[in-house]
Amino acid sequence: MERPGRAAAVAGAQPRANGCSGAGHGTLRNGYVRRFPAPDTQVDHIVHNGGLYKRPFNEAFEETPMLVAVLTYVGYGVLTLFGYLRDFMRQWKIEKCQNATEREEQKDFVPLYQDFENFYTRNLYMRIRDSWNRPICSVPGAKVDMMERVSHDYNWTFTYTGRVIKDIINMGSYNYLGFAQNTGTCQEAAAKVLSQYGAGVCSSRQEMGNLDKHEELEKLVARFLGVESAMAYGMGFATNSMNIPALVGKGCLILSDELNHASLVLGARLSGATIRIFKHNNMQSLEKLLKDAIVHGQPRTRRPWKKILILVEGIYSMEGSIVRLPEVIALKKKYKSYLYLDEAHSIGALGPSGRGVVDYFGLNPEDVDIMMGTFTKSFGAAGGYIGGKKELIDYLRTYSHSAVYATSMSPPVVEQIITSVKCIMGEDGTIVGKARVQQLAENTRYFRRRLKEMGFIIYGNEDSPVVPLMLYMPAKIGAFGREMLKRNIGVVVVGFPATPIIESRARFCLSAAHTKEMLDRALKEIDEVGDLLQLKYSRHRLVPLLDRPFDETTYEETED
């Protein structure tokens, strides 16, 4: 996403004995110096703690231009005023309220539909709702077919015209390696397994649902990740939200990145452990929390924490940033805590052999205590896994809710994962998998470079296949989605509450299945729409992550 400069050599900072440099790094306070090949300003990034990185790490977030921020707020102001007007009319029955309302009988109770979120849904989101959850009616590969729909009451209801919009270039699916296919070896293998085992298992792993296919999958995944043992689950979200509570509990501390996925947040809250949030990808902030945790121990009692677990993701799907894993591992070792790495977006999509961030940075998988990931993205299947030491997996097999109570994975899905993982590892005797990984990396670099040249504001890491393009103004969210669809490009637009209110964006996900022609067409249309909507905000001024605002939230446990 974003960052403009190609990277630069590594900063001279010598890693200290523990591989982690402390807070005082003089001029390199933000972790990187900037130099960029723009006409006037030279800003580029040099990774600080350079000794820890085997490759350049270029990641930056361009500042929101002041004028754009002001105009965005003006837009929200107008929408809010009209929202109040409409709410007023609904209240006085001048117009019919189509949304949920308080029941007559409960009129004097605490109101249910008056908070900001409801107001937002009713009066802002509704107006541009046509850009979301459009039904598609084909395999979500490089191209998809979409069902045409119209709304006659300004997006309150939709009707389908029965027509299908064909061959839309799909820039939205997490189909990183292009395994979402209805032809090819994966499909054939899955079809064979389907005719042999059927689709459902109707039992959990501990009862009659433990198929040979599951055992095979777990062995394969462990080998793929380079860990001792692995375990697969039927759902990625539940893998996070049900396993974290099995690992930590009361008296433990969770250090979580502020932008972690909802599943990690839910898991952390369910666990009952104390949660502290560090700034996104900011190692100074993480180190400070770790230091404080060790020095002060638990609040009030001052007993040491039982366990400290750091929760990070490989690629953050809204910012397109890649975790600074070498530094996180160095910190984790220095402070003897545990590391939980969610590779949902990075597995398959990063690294020379598609093995995720650990591979990308050339690190040892054993340094990550809990490797979690999902099969929903790169592998074009469903489910999640956890990999790690054998003791850890054996423990989870007996204590994790999603291992004990959930029905086991459907065999054709398992087969899809097995074939795609084997393909990536090259065990099917071809180099198709490797070629896909390289194709994705190439597509990523090409797409990001071109977008940046066009002058869009792009967030994230130069190697991340998730590319957020900033839109900012609320009307542009709707306009961008509609204009792109008119030009037969399917994009995902994101606004509040998934992003901060002014940082609405469009998010492109690249795939190895995209050909150069498709990308060029998409880029041409994006360029055109960018001119039409005036989206080329970039002035090539970069801020390191550290300077971005964030909410300092701590979920301190309250004792009753």
Partner: protein, 77 residues
């Protein structure tokens, strides 16, 4: 040809105005209301400027010319 360009340009300006003020996503009656309000406010600003700015400029000018000993000005008139 020229006319078409100008028309396109004006339409483009109008589109940008719609996007920035978010009237792009308003329903037609809301949009008319919004336009009416904007046009009214704008017209009033222009009218006020037209009526009051020259007077104020003249007063300011006189004030400053007195301040800096611009006696000749007043004697001449």
């Amino acid at each position: 040809m020229e006319i078409k360009h100008v028309k396109d340009y004006i339409y483009w300006l109008y589109y940008q105005y719609l996007l920035i003020t978010c009237s792009y996503v308003l329903e037609p009656w809301e949009r008319s209301m919004f336009h009416t309000i904007t046009v009214t406010v704008f017209a009033m600003v222009v009218y006020t400027a037209y009526v009051f700015v020259p007077i104020h400029i003249r007063l300011a000018f006189e004030f400053f010319s007195q301040l800096f000993g611009g006696q000749p000005e007043s004697t001449v008139s």
